[in-house]
């Protein structure tokens, strides 16, 4: 049974990657299990300067998911490269995906370059964070803006650049195509959907930012549809994210065209979520008669 997949030149032992923001900087999760069982690890979104993020409450529970407005809390790229990365490297030797955030093209470029030099294996450019003003989503909403960031980052780094796309864009396939044309090596999608909840007793918003990012099993059908659409529109590898909680979910995304997947919200409610999928995967493959995982990528059809 071959569970390995490829993201461009990079081979992952399996397609299971914890999603950015739901696994800290990785090393702390080594308390739960050996991270080397994972296909890769994606780090918490990182900006140039340290950020506290948004006021609390930053989360609210929903049916089969949650809202979050963490707002890119991180200690800044210097501290991440100096402290967090070495701690992760001490317990984990597989591929590392740095999640690069910014409030300007220069910031994206600078943060990406620092991670490029520091040995990250993939630079995932988060142009889709719904939880910060004047940043993130603004760059991912239009094909032009996303292409501009892609080109700027590509010109500055050696490592593969994956653009992380927003489901809140008007036309995610158009953004995807623009990124591909601007030189992106791959795409990650989806980031959180814009959602909201209020307290039925008082009418007040349950999250400090009023609207916030919605994710978890509830969003899986939307994420899968977008991955399917985008895979029909581009040739570069796509990493599927959104509501994945089981090996069956993973197989849905690979069928729709994803080359690997990330698991987000589910890590929060089950710290073993990724490991469980890693362990379930060969069992499901055997049951379904799948020998080589790579052979089912895109088997659903060719988009649209």
């Amino acid at each position: 049974m071959d569970t390995s997949v490829k993201l461009g030149e990079l081979t992952l032992r399996n397609p299971v990657i914890p999603a950015s923001g739901t696994f800290g900087f990785g090393h702390e999760m080594a308390k739960w299990y050996d991270l080397n069982r994972l296909g890769a690890v994606a780090l918490k979104g990182t900006t140039r300067e340290a950020r506290f993020g948004n006021p609390t409450p930053r989360v609210a529970e929903c049916e089969a998911g949650l809202l979050n407005a963490v707002g890119l809390q991180n200690p800044g790229v210097d501290a991440v490269v100096r402290e967090e990365l070495p701690r992760l490297r001490a317990v984990y030797s597989g591929p590392v995906i740095a999640n690069v955030c910014g409030f300007s093209a220069e910031e994206y470029v600078e943060v990406a370059r620092r991670f490029d030099e520091a040995g990250a294996d993939i630079l995932e450019i988060n142009v889709s964070c719904p939880n910060v003003r004047h940043g993130g989503l603004a760059f991912g909403a239009s094909p032009e803006a996303a292409a501009a960031i892609t080109a700027a980052v590509k010109a500055a780094v050696k490592k593969p650049v994956y653009m992380k796309l927003s489901p809140n864009a008007a036309d995610i396939a158009a953004v995807a195509r623009a990124c591909e044309e601007a030189g992106a090596d791959g795409l990650t999608l989806i980031n959180t959907l814009l959602g909201m909840r209020v307290d039925p007793r008082t009418g007040r918003p349950l999250v400090s930012t009023v609207t916030s990012g919605f994710s978890g099993p509830a969003i899986k059908p939307v994420a899968l549809r977008m991955v399917f659409e985008v895979c029909g529109a581009v040739k570069i590898p796509v990493v599927g994210v959104g509501g994945i909680a089981s090996a069956d979910d993973l197989l849905e995304f690979l069928s729709a065209g994803a080359s690997a997947v990330q698991i987000g919200a589910q890590n929060l409610v089950d710290p073993y979520a990724c490991l469980r999928v890693v362990e379930e995967l060969p069992k499901r493959m055997e049951e379904y008669g799948i020998r080589d995982l790579k052979s089912i990528i895109g088997r659903t059809g060719n988009g649209q």
């Binding site: 702390e28 609390t56 979050n68 809390q73 099993p217 919200a265 409610v269 710290p271």
Partner: protein
Amino acid sequence: MYKNALYRVAENRPIAREVFRMRLLGDTRWITAPGQFVNVRVDGCYLRRPISVCDWDGGGLTLLYRAVGKGTRLLSRALPGETLDLLTGLGNGYDPSAARGRRTVLIGGGVGVPPLYGLARRLALAGEPPAAALGFQTAADAFLAESFLTLGCEVLVATADGSLGERGFVTDPLSRLDYGYYFACGPEPMLAAVHALGREKGAEGQLSFERRMGCGFGACMSCSCETLAGPRRICVEGPVLRSGEVRF
């Protein structure tokens, strides 16, 4: 270290208005300090629910919780014999050693009282039963006061309506007490008042905070709190913060 395991419900019944005591049997090796919490999976809820460990021993642990919303109401219906999925060993917990040699008071408000009981029992076992100042809305909401007495604690009770103990806030009887160190847990306005009073009295202490949580084990940054020493995750570097670092 953390642990994820199944626990068997041995008891789950009301001890005050909407307040339940749940005794769970299972592995407690990962619980290392009073004031730590567990994160409970509740069938029908997506997120887990954080609850302080009220007390624990080699065979299991006790939780005291108020049924306030969907999750805790569902929890209150769990029957003896059912199993619950818990993460244990979460949070830093109180550091009792810091109080050594100083007159110590435990200050609890409402469902902030439970974690102080485990702490009190350990201090009493060490031969230093602390004083306990407990605040509730009304007599019907009160619990554990007798248990603190049994440990040999001096117990001060305040209720908002005077139906039990003194009428007023827990800081009212507290203001007349002489103490050099305190351990507090309760709603944030209470913690702020306790903190201010401690300053007046030149007392240091440890305060346990609540934040709405995503994970409870440091992965998501949902529970951050700004302190004088920088941002802290209430679920890892907390829930207990030192009086010298908190910011209100």
